[in-house]
């Protein structure tokens, strides 16, 4: 079985598990909406200010909840599930790439669901096409980052706390690029530099996910 066919099989399996458990859509998403509303209430009733900070709040909520999505139990898998994959002679890179891409797809669904809520709450209209590019790129970056962090921390007893601590700073370039690209189109400015930053970060994360999977498995 080829590398990508195995990746596809694991992704399909991970998405099937998510569809059955509805851990992200049924549990995480409602809390994200509540958080977005709470942020809005905390800012006050200044409509112009709310409209202006809408994109930033959207991405902050995406970032905060990405930690929950990435570290959810069905996403990281149990030690026994990881052992099973090893004993099926699955290349460690297959497991990490598939975990990253599955998390990216789930993050994308989460972002898409949260977008209309943000637009409604903050009377914010993103640029016509920028979000079509930005959302998948951020989702991919967060998914790969999550897979990388899970791989690095997998056998540590402090994994849950440490992973969260690593994800937040790791996702700052993604957050900065995402916020600025959406704002740039809103104010009629160019977004190419921000998209290039997203691309570079994703590329770096992708390389790290593939390159570190084997050596960490050998530890």
């Amino acid at each position: 079985m080829t590398f990508w066919r195995q990746v596809r099989t694991v992704i399909a399996n991970n998405l099937r598990v998510e569809r059955r458990t509805l851990e992200v859509v049924g549990v995480t998403f409602p809390f994200a909406v509540a958080t977005l509303i709470a942020f809005g209430l905390a800012v006050g009733i200044d409509a112009a200010l709310l409209e202006r900070i809408g994109p930033a709040l959207y991405w902050v909520v995406v970032l905060i909840f990405s930690v929950l999505i990435i570290l959810r139990s069905s996403g990281t898998g149990s030690a026994a599930q990881r052992d099973l994959m090893k004993l099926l002679a699955v290349d460690p890179a297959v497991t990490t790439v598939a975990a990253g891409l599955s998390a990216a797809l789930i993050m994308l669904v989460f972002e898409i669901l949260l977008l209309p809520v943000t637009m409604l709450l903050f009377n914010w209209t993103p640029g016509t096409w920028s979000w079509v590019v930005t959302l998948p790129m951020v989702a991919l970056g967060l998914g790969l980052l999550g897979s990388l962090v899970n791989t690095v921390t997998t056998s540590l007893s402090s994994r849950t706390s440490l992973a969260a601590i690593l994800i937040v700073p790791g996702s700052i370039p993604l957050l900065v690029a995402a916020t600025n690209s959406l704002e740039a189109t809103t104010y009629g400015q160019g977004i190419l530099p921000w998209l290039l930053l997203l691309l570079a970060v994703n590329l770096g994360l992708g390389i790290a996910v593939v390159a570190l999977a084997g050596p960490i498995d050998d530890l």
Binding site: Q6, R16, A80, Q81, D83, L87
Partner: protein, 204 residues
């Protein structure tokens, strides 16, 4: 020798398992049986010593080559609770590049064909163990490692465990079976060992 942190788990273990034979392993809880199985499965490396599994040096990255031929049935099945019994086995078959026809045949062989659509989380412990035995039939390992092989199983399921072990050895493979049921174990294996405080001793 195997040490986890500062705790010595396996102190003195010398073991050779011939192909086509099964060995039984017994011992008190915490004596290191599961750790020994994990070493044999190449999932854990001894701190000191040598380990060769199916001709692969398990102390180096070469151990990955052996893994395709090893099935470990441990305390945790490593399966997905929200998936059905069939979907769990389909994943195994897919990853091994085997036809999904094997899945139904394996489920039939362990008496689970009728429960194929049942979610794993709704299956009993005995059913989960049968499902793991079905995984053995799909994987056709050269080394079968069974931890607490008969624990919590009814007579029929325990018999099935012994049949699968016999099938693996009859096909030229080797098996290491951990169990507390010494009488049953003796009738199912060629040699019996006892592990006590990390020291392996041959009984029969």
């Amino acid at each position: 020798m195997l040490q986890l942190g500062n705790t010595p788990v396996l102190a003195d273990v010398t073991l050779a398992v011939d192909m086509g034979t099964a060995i039984g392993l017994t011992g008190a809880n915490g004596s290191g049986k599961s750790s020994l199985l994990r070493c044999l499965a190449t999932l854990q490396r001894p701190t000191v010593g040598t380990l060769s599994v199916l001709g692969f040096d398990a102390m180096t990255a070469e151990r990955r080559g052996a893994r395709r031929y090893i099935t470990l049935i441990g305390h945790d099945a490593g399966l997905y609770p929200s998936l059905t019994l069939r979907e769990n086995l389909d994943l195994v078959a897919d990853m091994l590049g085997r036809s999904r026809d094997h899945t139904l045949q394996a489920l039939e062989a362990v008496g689970l064909r009728g429960a194929a659509a049942r979610p794993l989380e709704a299956a009993s412990k005995g059913m989960v163990r049968r499902l793991e035995l079905a995984r053995v039939l799909i994987q056709q390992p050269r080394l079968l490692l069974l931890d607490e092989a008969h624990a919590g199983l009814d007579t029929a399921s325990s018999d099935l465990v012994d049949q699968v072990v016999a099938r693996v050895t009859a096909d030229g493979g080797a098996a290491v079976v951990v169990s507390h049921e010494i009488d049953r174990l003796q009738s199912a294996v060629d040699n019996l060992y006892k592990l006590e405080a990390g020291i392996l001793e041959r009984l029969v």
